[in-house]
């Protein structure tokens, strides 16, 4: 049980300001994901909560109480690092029991037995107590490592990229495993990752960090459908979102958008047009973001389509990444895995404006999108 609050945290390493006034609130029993590129300050926040790093300014609160000066060991947090090594010579039982046998937490064998069994059952490994780590599957090993952290019933569970060292395939499976186990944690958890799929899948809420600052806090859906700015939009989704300069034109009473100075005009949905008109005077430059999944292509010119050439076509299994060169600009779109095209052949793109994100080009901040309210309703 713990509610955690960070208030205006600042932290400097040498000349680098790692955290520049971070405000963050993690609710009791919430699974909170900190997400951002390398060097954004994710791990520093985690260490600040753990008490391993001391902020120069700002407060750390556990359930309202200021813990800045509380020793890490007295904070009752449990931390899983990227490489959760199990003791190879110890059974599952002894691995899970190990924290309770440390001099500090020394407990009676009877209590240990009881607690270990409870945690192991919860993790679905109760029948594997006598096995050695080498006799376990990867999933079972992960469960054992998590069990070892949970056995002390920490107030807060801190996880620093626990899946990052796994290969891509295993990572998918482990993420699903973690998600399936999540309901059983019942403990406030802060989870650090640089993988947007982990953030979207696991987080009750996701906090996105850039250069020591929180840039958005929201559900997985919110960061995907309504990223707070261009930085977040680029971070979430694969391939990276296409950002285009936009110019608005009113034609026969209808608002239309020109993308990257191309001659074609694409109609703007009316709900978007209404919001844009309100902001029209205050914004000098506009930008539109369209994800690769929302740019269908065709080899024949369409009513409104951008004309370009195939710059690259990469089949990567369940889909192909199609890169199209329009003028001097490159756009990436997602195509079927059996698509065939010679490089440099003519091709037409039809960005779907009903899925486009509209940004204030001066500041990079998100302004609006079609169906915004419906997409986030009740989620």
């Amino acid at each position: 049980m713990a509610h955690i609050a960070l208030e205006k945290i600042e932290k400097t390493f040498g000349k680098v300001q790692a955290l520049k006034g971070v405000d963050l609130e993690v609710r009791d029993k919430e699974f909170f994901v900190l997400f951002g590129p390398a060097g954004a300050g994710k791990t520093t926040i985690l260490k600040t909560v753990a008490g391993i790093e001391f902020p120069e300014r700002g407060l750390v609160r556990f359930d309202g109480e200021i813990v800045n000066l509380v020793e890490p060991s007295a904070r009752n947090v449990s931390m899983v690092f990227e490489n959760y090594a199990l003791y190879p010579h110890m059974t599952v039982f002894d691995n899970i029991a190990s924290p309770m046998r440390s001099p500090r937490y020394k407990e009676s064998e009877e209590t240990i037995r009881e607690k270990v069994q409870k945690v192991a059952d919860m993790m679905g490994i109760g029948h594997l107590m006598d096995r050695l780590p080498s006799q376990l599957s990867n999933g079972q090993r992960q469960r054992t490592a998590l069990g070892r952290c949970l056995v002390r019933s920490p107030k807060v569970f801190l996880m620093d990229e626990p899946l990052a060292h796994l290969d891509a395939k295993l990572r998918h499976l482990m993420r699903t495993e973690l998600k399936a186990m999540q309901a059983q944690f019942d403990t406030t958890t802060i989870y650090v990752t640089h993988d947007y799929t982990e953030a979207m899948s696991l987080g009750d809420r996701v906090g996105i960090l850039n250069e020591g600052k929180i840039v958005q806090i929201g559900s997985g859906d919110a960061i995907y459908y309504t990223p707070a700015n261009e930085f977040v939009a680029k971070l979430v989704g694969e391939p990276e979102i296409n950002l285009m300069d936009a110019e608005f034109v009113t034609e026969e009473g209808e608002l239309k958008v020109r993308l990257d100075e191309a001659p074609q005009l694409f109609p703007v949905p009316t709900d978007v047009a209404a919001v844009l008109r309100d902001n029209y005077d205050s914004v000098k430059k506009w930008r539109v973001g369209v994800r690769g999944t929302n740019i269908p292509h065709s080899f024949e010119p369409q009513l409104t389509s951008l004309e370009g050439v195939v710059y690259n076509l990469e089949p990567i299994g369940n889909k192909s990444i199609l890169t199209v060169k329009v003028g001097e600009r490159l756009y990436q779109s997602v195509a079927k895995n059996d698509m065939k095209a010679e490089l440099d052949t003519r091709i037409y793109l039809e960005p779907d404006i009903t899925h486009a994100l509209f940004f204030n080009g001066d500041t990079g901040q998100f302004v609006t999108r079609h169906n915004q309210a419906e997409l986030l309703q009740g989620r």
Partner: protein, 371 residues
């Protein structure tokens, strides 16, 4: 430009304990066409780099033959084989600038200065290093170093270009950019190319055909889509594709035209595609292989009724996973906006063409019978 042929090539390292593992490469044959881009793909220790080094002449061949063009090159010195080599580790000459690094091998061949200059200036813009010619390697980024490295290999006008994990040192974004460049240069100069990699995505996106290796032996040789859609064995099925194929042991139940895959967890079953009816029988154990994109959700029915255990919205796609017992999840992806909740009852159908079964002992694919 030339074709490259490997005929029953073996590599055996001496002074090792006697075992089947003695052979780093075993009975490896490969036929690369003129101008083709071949990927040799496999996990570490599968013999892929040894194979490349044998083609290059850096390793002796224990048995078999290698042809470049119409020449048997077994006993030729590396420099006489007409190959260009670019390793993962760029190893540029630090005291020389980019121009001299690229020109180095040509100078060693005693080509006239104006010919060298012409060739360097011809290759530099292709690899987008023309603005870097005066710089020393220390000032270059990883991506730029690898471009110079490949330029250095190409400037010799090799008959075969050999690339050993050229992208593994680079970060994600740079890797993607250079991957595109390599593909475009290959399209332009059509030099027969062999790429060695452990990254299936890299092999899929670059190669015309992929040779998949395991334990020194060729497993399958085909186009990216062939190896993706029709893996010949369990290893290839598991190695190719991301998210990975669902692979799990199941038991067959039913009879006649109506068979089911029975999963370890009680009551979870899915209809066996009709093409397998002639080859399966009640009680048979097989390993089922089906990709997340080839499972479809229907209304629950007597054919299949399961409950959703995990739903993940990953933005571009959504994933539904079903706990089928023994810690295995059957995962499928959907692209529509529909959301599922934990515990929701659904039915499943497997894609008729793209569902595979494998023999649990030999791990070879069991073919169905098309009617």
């Amino acid at each position: 430009m030339a074709q490259l042929i490997l005929k029953n090539v073996y590599k055996r390292y001496e002074n090792k304990k006697k075992s089947a593992q003695d052979y780093a490469v075993k009975d490896f044959s490969l036929h690369c066409e003129h101008g083709e881009f071949i990927g040799i793909l496999g996990p570490s220790g599968c013999g892929k780099t040894t194979t490349l080094r044998m083609i290059a002449g850096l390793e002796e061949i224990t048995d078999g033959a290698i042809f470049i063009g119409d020449r048997k090159v077994n006993d030729l010195h590396p420099k006489d084989r007409g190959i260009g080599l670019a390793f993962e580790d760029y190893a540029l000459y630090p005291p020389l600038n980019v121009y001299e690094n690229i020109a180095f091998n040509l100078r060693a061949q005693n080509l006239p200065a104006d010919e060298i200059d012409r060739r360097v200036r011809e290759i530099a813009p292709l690899m987008k290093v023309e603005t870097l010619l005066d710089m020393k390697p220390a000032g270059l980024s990883g991506g730029q170093k690898q471009r110079v490295n490949i330029a250095r290999a190409l400037v010799r006008r090799p008959q075969v270009l050999l690339l050993d994990e050229p992208l593994s040192h680079l970060d994600g974004k740079m890797r993607q950019v250079l991957r595109t460049e390599i593909k475009r240069i290959h399209n332009k100069i059509k030099c027969t190319t062999v790429l060695v990699t452990h990254d299936q995505m890299e092999a899929m996106s670059l190669a015309d055909r992929i040779a998949i290796m395991k334990d020194g032996q060729l497993q399958q040789f085909g186009t990216p889509l062939e190896v993706y859609d029709n893996p010949v064995n369990l290893f290839v099925a598991g190695f190719i594709g991301e998210p990975p194929m669902n692979l799990m042991k199941v038991t067959i139940s039913g009879e006649g035209e109506r068979f089911y895959f029975e999963f370890p967890r009680q009551g979870i079953r899915v209809r066996v595609p009709k093409k397998y009816s002639p080859v399966v029988r009640e009680g048979m154990e097989v390993i089922l292989g089906v990709r997340p994109t080839d499972i479809f959700i229907t209304e629950p029915s007597e054919d299949s009724e399961v409950s959703v255990d995990v739903f993940e919205n990953l933005g571009d796609e959504k994933r539904v996973s079903i706990d089928v017992g023994e810690e295995d999840f059957l995962t499928l992806t959907t692209e529509d906006e529909r959301r599922y909740t934990k515990g929701e009852r659904i039915g499943l159908i497997f894609h008729e063409e793209k569902t595979h079964i494998f023999d649990p002992v030999t791990e070879e694919r069991i073919l169905g019978v098309q009617k």
